[in-house]
């Protein structure tokens, strides 16, 4: 166990004290495991969420993200491991004793209380006096002052969502947990609330931990995302980091789309590695973005980084080139055109081309695809190449 989690009182210098204080609100999960009978929902999870950050736990249903959240709120108790808020071990603390509040998936507003009473609930239970002003301020913040006397069932979905947020925020918890908070809203409202949530988080500066299966939602709002799969964290990082440089095929497939081509490393070429694909084509990947330790490697590239050409002559210099493909599907979606290309290298190679007025290739056309080698990445060749692709479909994104 590290020094940070030592609960003994200790003498600290002024500088030492300052350091401890800035760490006081960090949420730490240390070797946390949760089993339900034989099933391990969360497996030996260790994670530090810095105070004031907007953190997302992203994964398909059943990956353990909600269980993790509930162990932080206290609604589930870990089978093993510890949960710490700063230096304070809260692992066995009852939920009503934790400085943590949750915005529940279906809001769980109290139907017998008015909006104002719902918002005041936490303050009243803690015996706070003079709750009138904070409740009014919160109603103003969530822009529902005019309907504070109504009951939850008289409100729209978006309004209920804001009440759920206000009811949790008013307590100024050290950590605010959001359990798929936007799942029940329609697309337009969801976009609006995403921006709203991010704004409120920046304003109040609390730690937000957001659980979602929606990768776009996680990318829009979070500073840091942890992609979870089967009770473990697959990868943790900033949205750009995860997207541009995925560590596993699961992350590459779950977060957006990826073209993944298995091959073998032939050797280094400057800052790149040369890879021989299964059909014999040679391509380059940046050596710094290669996660494969051995010879077997999976070359990955995002569809929007790929360009499509009628003939090999049009390919810019230095690009990786895959020739001999035929367009099998073309869908024009306005801002872009999405192609599926079948070639000797891959049966379904995706290409997204921005609508810059260029020729649209119809199904049946012979095409050459290419990309800048610096935009590719390499993954360990020993894993399931389709991992995460189904989870992504399930998640509906």
């Amino acid at each position: 166990m590290s020094k940070d989690t030592d609960t003994r009182p200790r003498a600290v210098s002024e500088r030492g004290r300052a350091r401890v204080d800035t760490e006081a609100g960090d949420l730490k999960l240390v070797n946390v495991t949760k089993r339900f009978g034989d099933f391990a929902a969360v497996k030996d999870l260790t994670l530090t969420i810095p105070q004031g950050s907007f953190f997302a736990l992203l994964g398909a249903s059943g990956c353990g993200k909600t269980t993790t959240l509930r162990m932080v709120s206290g609604l589930e108790e870990p089978t093993a491991g510890r949960v710490l808020l700063g230096d304070h071990d809260v692992t066995r603390l009852r939920p009503y004793k934790r400085p943590v509040n949750t915005v529940f998936q279906n809001y769980a507003l109290f139907p017998h209380l008015t909006i104002a009473e719902n918002i005041a609930f936490g303050l009243k239970r803690r015996g706070v006096k003079d709750i009138k002003k904070p409740v009014q301020d919160m109603l103003d913040l969530i822009e529902l002052s005019h309907i504070g006397a109504r009951k939850p069932n008289q409100l729209s979905g978006g309004q209920q969502q804001r009440v759920a947020l206000g009811r949790a925020l008013i307590n100024r918890p050290q950590v605010l947990l959001l359990d798929e908070p936007l799942g029940a809203l329609d697309l337009k409202l969801r976009r609006q609330m995403q921006i709203e949530l991010k704004r409120i988080q920046t304003e109040v500066g609390l730690t937000f931990v957001h659980v979602t299966h929606d990768q776009e939602e996680a990318m829009t709002m979070a500073d840091t995302i942890a992609v979870m799969n089967m009770g473990r964290i697959e990868q943790l990082g900033s949205p750009t980091d995860l997207y541009e440089n995925p560590k596993t095929t699961f992350v590459a497939n779950f977060l957006g789309q990826s073209n993944l081509l298995p091959g073998k490393v032939a050797g280094p070429v400057g800052e790149h590695l040369q890879v021989v694909l299964e059909d014999g084509t040679r391509v380059l990947i940046p050596a710094a973005r290669n996660r494969a330790g051995g010879e077997e490697v999976i070359v990955g590239v995002r569809p929007e980084k790929v360009s499509i050409h009628s003939s090999a002559e049009d390919v810019p210099d230095g690009h990786n080139v895959l020739a001999g493909g035929v367009v099998t599907d073309t869908s024009f979606v306005g801002v872009s055109t999405q192609y599926v290309v079948k070639g000797p290298y891959c049966d379904e190679f995706g290409v997204f081309v921005q609508n810059d007025g260029a020729l649209i290739h119809r199904p049946g056309s012979e095409v050459v695809v290419s990309w800048d080698p610096s935009q590719g990445f390499g993954l360990d060749g020993k894993q399931d190449i389709d991992a995460g692709a189904e989870a992504d479909l399930e998640a509906g994104s």
Binding site: A108, F121, A168
Partner: protein, 268 residues
């Protein structure tokens, strides 16, 4: 043709009216006959309007004892059955324990079994365990609690099942102790179910005849007294008490519903 069209247009209203008429007419007859002044012992034929029965509702005290006994038993049985039944309902819905399915089906028995069977069985039980002197207030009370509990459990259980379990978790998350969670969230939400169960228990106990008759010994409850009286003559006071019950019930409904109704009509 016009008549046919009119009929078509209003057929649902007409059927509804007939159903309500059919349901409510006996109640009106009860109230109406309470103002009768019968010439003989039987208050079954309308003769003359009078307030006599209303001025002397207990028929010079003859009705006092049976009525009080029935009220006392109904109130006590309601209280005990409601508390007990509510606790059983919580146990069945909230906890999984060995024999939960068994408890669930046993609770249906008093409702499913014919009353006459329950009555004779209880009589045999009381006679064999406590002897004949036990029959009376205590035996009636125990019998009434027994059958009321089933109805309470069913009513409260359905209310509890309809309640979102996340609400209690949300309360805990918002600093409510288990005690506060129960009194601030669970109870207010289940209360309408408990109230309905209590009303049902009271009504079932107050007018129960068959089981009571079997287990009463020498005690005489109100329904039992009426049944006996039929052979000698029914005074209009019986109608007065029936009317009073009706008025009390209507008043109770009014107290519960009118504020709600006023609120919604104001909102629109």
């Amino acid at each position: 043709m016009a008549v046919v069209n009119w009929f078509r247009k209003h057929v649902i209203a007409i059927v509804a009216f007939l159903i309500f008429f059919f349901l409510l007419v006996p109640n009106f007859v009860v109230v109406w006959m309470s103002f009768n002044k019968p010439s003989g012992k039987y208050n079954v034929k309308w003769e003359k309007f009078s307030f006599d029965a209303w001025k002397n509702p207990l028929d010079d005290g003859i009705l006092h004892d049976p009525l009080m006994l029935s009220l006392e038993i109904a109130l006590l049985a309601t209280l005990v059955a409601t508390v007990l039944g509510t606790m059983i309902a919580f146990a069945i819905v909230r906890h999984s324990f060995k024999g939960r399915g068994f408890v669930n089906s046993v609770l249906f028995l008093p409702m499913a079994a014919p009353e006459i069977v329950m009555g004779t069985t209880l009589l045999a039980l009381f006679l064999n365990t406590f002897g004949v002197s036990f029959l009376g207030f205590k035996s009636i009370l125990i019998a009434h609690i027994m059958f009321c509990v089933s109805y309470v459990v069913i009513t409260v259980k359905s209310r509890l099942n309809g309640m979102d379990p996340m609400l209690e978790k949300a309360a805990q998350d918002l600093y409510a102790t288990p005690w506060q969670t129960f009194w601030r969230v669970t109870f207010p939400l289940v209360a309408p179910g408990i109230g309905a169960a209590a009303l049902l228990s009271f009504a079932l106990s107050f007018d129960d005849f068959i089981i009571t008759e079997m287990t009463a010994g020498n005690s005489v409850t109100f329904p039992y007294w009426i049944w006996n009286a039929v052979q000698k003559g029914i005074p209009p006071q019986v109608n007065v008490i029936g009317s009073l019950m009706l008025i009390i019930t209507l008043a109770g409904i009014a107290v519960a519903e009118v504020p709600k109704w006023l609120k919604t009509s104001k909102a629109h």
